[in-house]
């Protein structure tokens, strides 16, 4: 059964079911760690409203990744995988830039960063197996620099809430692929 119903495109690639199941599990694992981090930032530093940090996010230059090619309407598998990898790679770098955020949050942040990096690797290796990986891995763009503890914490709130939205889209797309 075809996975997508868009015509005039190359035929859909067969993604192994185990890859999809493992990816879904990784999404949920990262979502769980991410939620813990958001709750800790709210409880410890009273930073509970990401919508109040939009202006700061702009001035710090906190980036956001898109998953437009993974929406169920116009799913283009190769491009979706590539966007998924690119986004995870971006957030992994962003989480790394938050290092030193606070001793209490460090274990959660470190674990989250590793989970995101591992997931990005899983996706990349699948792209390689399918022969759709670019010849060179993308390199990380410039990351925001934080000049105060508050900026780092606010950056943490923004990065985790962006990642949360990214993962919701990714989960939906993967779910659609595993049970078409």
């Amino acid at each position: 059964a075809p996975l997508v119903s868009v015509t005039s495109l190359p035929p859909p690639l067969p993604l192994p079911r185990s890859f999809l199941l493992k990816s879904l599990e990784q999404v949920r694992k990262i979502q769980a760690g991410n939620s813990v981090l958001l709750e800790q930032l709210c409880a410890t530093y009273k930073l509970c409203h990401p919508e109040e940090l939009v202006l700061l996010g702009h001035s710090l230059g906190i980036p956001q990744a898109s998953l437009s090619r993974c929406s169920s309407q116009a799913q283009q598998l190769t491009k979706c995988l590539s966007q998924l990898h690119g986004g995870l790679f971006l957030y992994q770098g962003l989480l790394q830039a938050l290092a030193g955020i606070s001793p209490e949050l460090a274990p959660t942040l470190d674990a989250l960063q590793l989970d995101v990096a591992n997931f990005a690797t899983t996706i990349w290796q699948q792209m390689e197996s399918l022969g759709v990986a670019p010849t060179v891995q993308p390199t990380q763009g410039a990351m925001p620099t934080f000049t105060s503890a508050f900026q780092r914490r606010a950056g943490g709130v923004l990065a985790t809430s962006h990642l949360q939205r990214f993962l919701e889209t990714a989960h939906c797309a993967l779910k659609h692929l595993v049970q078409p």
Partner: protein
């Protein structure tokens, strides 16, 4: 946006002043935005006054008359569309300077070869407060300082610290005290003058019943035969011991036998008639040199000969 506090750590109940400034080149904002404040989860409120500095910077100043929380997050915000945007956040801590630590006392342990001191830290300061056990070696009168000994830093939140053998002169006086320090001040406990061996904590000897069936011990009615040897690590010390015994009857009192030697191969306790079973305990003290009584040995239950 940038918050400055007059002091980041204050005494509980003291006032504190905060200012929030917005530089004029913050292009996304109005030229003269209204600066608001928020404490913890509280409502947004204006400052006491807002002014435009010569360079175009907007500044709002607020005075918190009494800081009642040990930890407060202070936010500086501006209106933005239908909502607000946080520009900066500062953390305000409050507490008390440390009181003098009290009840400092030390014991010398022969098994670990450490002088262990403990104290009471005094009331909660609500601030990170470091305790340090300080000491120096001295001559007999504790008036003069010889070498000072490395500061002893207790493990996290323990009101106890132990000085290793290599820093001690066991037979020479030393002066010991505790210093408490936090962001609001320093205080010291009264000073202790002691010779480590004079506060040695011995363990009691092990009290043993001599087997009544041995030929060595002639049977005699109403008696008990005992033996004891000093606790091995304290064997080099001259000691004096005391024995107490009590018939196992309701309301019975202990009877004390004092001035016993630290070692006995065959000690006879007679005149016991009132009960079938007696409890016995022994403890010792360094003597004639100063010392502390050991705890009582575990009770031995014995039946006198009939």
């Amino acid at each position: 946006g940038h918050i400055r506090l007059s002091v980041p750590i204050v005494r509980l109940g003291d006032p504190v002043m905060a200012s929030c400034t917005i530089s004029p080149n913050c292009s996304k904002l109005d030229q003269e935005p209204q600066i608001l404040w928020r404490l913890e989860d509280g409502p947004n409120q204006p400052g006491d006054r807002q002014q435009r500095l010569p360079d175009g910077t907007q500044e709002s100043i607020i005075t918190l008359p009494r800081v009642n929380l040990t930890k407060t997050f202070v936010f500086c915000l501006v209106p933005w569309g239908n909502s607000f945007q946080v520009l900066d956040q500062a953390e305000l801590q409050a507490g008390y300077p440390p009181a003098s630590p009290s009840n400092l006392s030390c014991l010398m342990y022969l098994t670990t070869n450490r002088l262990v001191c403990q104290w009471e830290p005094g009331p909660e300061t609500h601030l990170p407060t470091n305790f340090t056990l300080k000491s120096f070696r001295s001559r007999a009168d504790c008036q003069y300082q010889e070498d000072s000994i490395l500061d002893c830093v207790p493990e996290d939140r323990q009101n106890t610290c132990s000085i290793a053998r290599k820093h001690l002169f066991l037979y020479q006086n030393m002066v010991i005290w505790v210093q408490a320090e936090n962001a609001l001040g320093i205080s010291e406990s009264p000073k202790l003058c002691l010779e480590p061996m004079d506060v040695v904590k011995l363990e009691p000897p092990e009290l043993q019943a001599l087997d009544g069936s041995r030929d060595l011990v002639p049977r005699q009615p109403g008696c008990l035969w005992l033996s004891w040897k000093p606790w091995e690590p304290g064997r080099f010390m001259q000691q004096e011991c005391e024995l107490r015994y009590q018939p196992q009857l309701r309301g019975a009192n202990w009877t004390l036998v004092s001035h016993l030697p630290s070692s006995e191969d065959q000690f006879k306790l007679c005149g016991l008639h009132r009960a079938p079973v007696y409890s016995l305990q022994i403890r010792c003290i360094r003597s004639p040199l100063p010392g502390l009584w050991s705890s009582w040995s575990p009770a031995l239950q014995l039946r006198p000969t009939i």
